[in-house]
Structures are given as C-alpha cells and as structure tokens.
Symmetry: C2
Subunit: 84 residues, 2 copies
C-alpha cells in the first residue's frame, strides 16, 4: 500500500498513467512525452511496475507498458474506509 501511495505521489508518474489510460505505449513513446531523460523515465516505470500500477510485455525490441487499474481498487477501499 505504501508503494502505491509513493508511486502516485510523483506528478510525472501520474502523467504516465494518464498517457497509458487510452493505449499501451513503449518506454520510448512515454519518454518522448517528457523533457526528462530516458533512464529517468525508465526509473519511474520501474516504480510504477513495482507498485502494481503498470505491467510490461516485450514485443521484439520494444517494451510495451500498460496500466493496471486493478490495484486502484485497494486505493478506493482505503479512501472509502477513511470516509467511514
């Protein structure tokens, strides 16, 4: 749960999730949307992966990232619980 919150606490990572909302993208596609180096984006993707917010599959040279909304249920539950 901490990894999830930590993951969502960075604006770049939240924007990555927005990009992945509509379609799966390669690491390069994602990186090209930001004015940040590829290794940095790769690091953000790694954190998103570790927290369960994205998953990745290889297609040849490319790594396709996709959003995983299942884990967001936990967040919803946490929020609901806090609201009583």
């Amino acid at each position: 749960m901490n990894a999830l919150f930590k993951s969502l606490s960075d604006p770049t990572r939240r924007e990555i999730l927005q990009l992945l909302k509509d379609t799966d993208l390669t690491a390069g596609d994602i990186a090209s949307h930001f004015d940040i180096s590829k290794p940095s984006i790769s690091h953000h993707l790694d954190l998103l992966k570790r927290s369960g917010l994205v998953s990745v599959r290889r297609d040849g040279q490319f790594l396709y990232y996709s959003i995983n909304t299942t884990i967001l249920e936990d967040l919803m539950q946490w929020v609901m619980n806090l609201k009583h």
Copy 2:
C-alpha cells in the same frame, strides 16, 4: 492535487488520518501515538492542513485537529477517471 497526493504518500500522515477518523484529537494526543518528536508531528499536521485533509480549531491551550473528507472526493474522481 499534487499536495493531496504528496500528503498521502507518507505512512505517518496516513496513520494520523486513521486516528482522526473516529474522533478529533489535539496535536499532543496525536504526537503521543508516535515515537516521533512533537515538532515533526506538527510538521506532518501542517502538510495535512495545507493539502486540505485536516482542519484545526483552537480550544484554549489546545489545538484540535479533525479530518476533512471532502477533499477525498477529488481523489476518488481522479481514480475513477483513470479507470475510465
């Protein structure tokens, strides 16, 4: 929105919110639940306040903190939007 996510990214602050779920508490009451100095807790409370997650009222010498769940609607919306 960033302040909200940042606020929720720290485990101590999330635990503070859990404490405030049931009842309003003074800064001292909150601090006594943790093995962290009062100034540090005061700092966490300040961040929670700035993000809109808690509000505070004075009663004599005491400052009572209470949870504000209204702002959590924004978070719910953000999550829902991400899920489409």
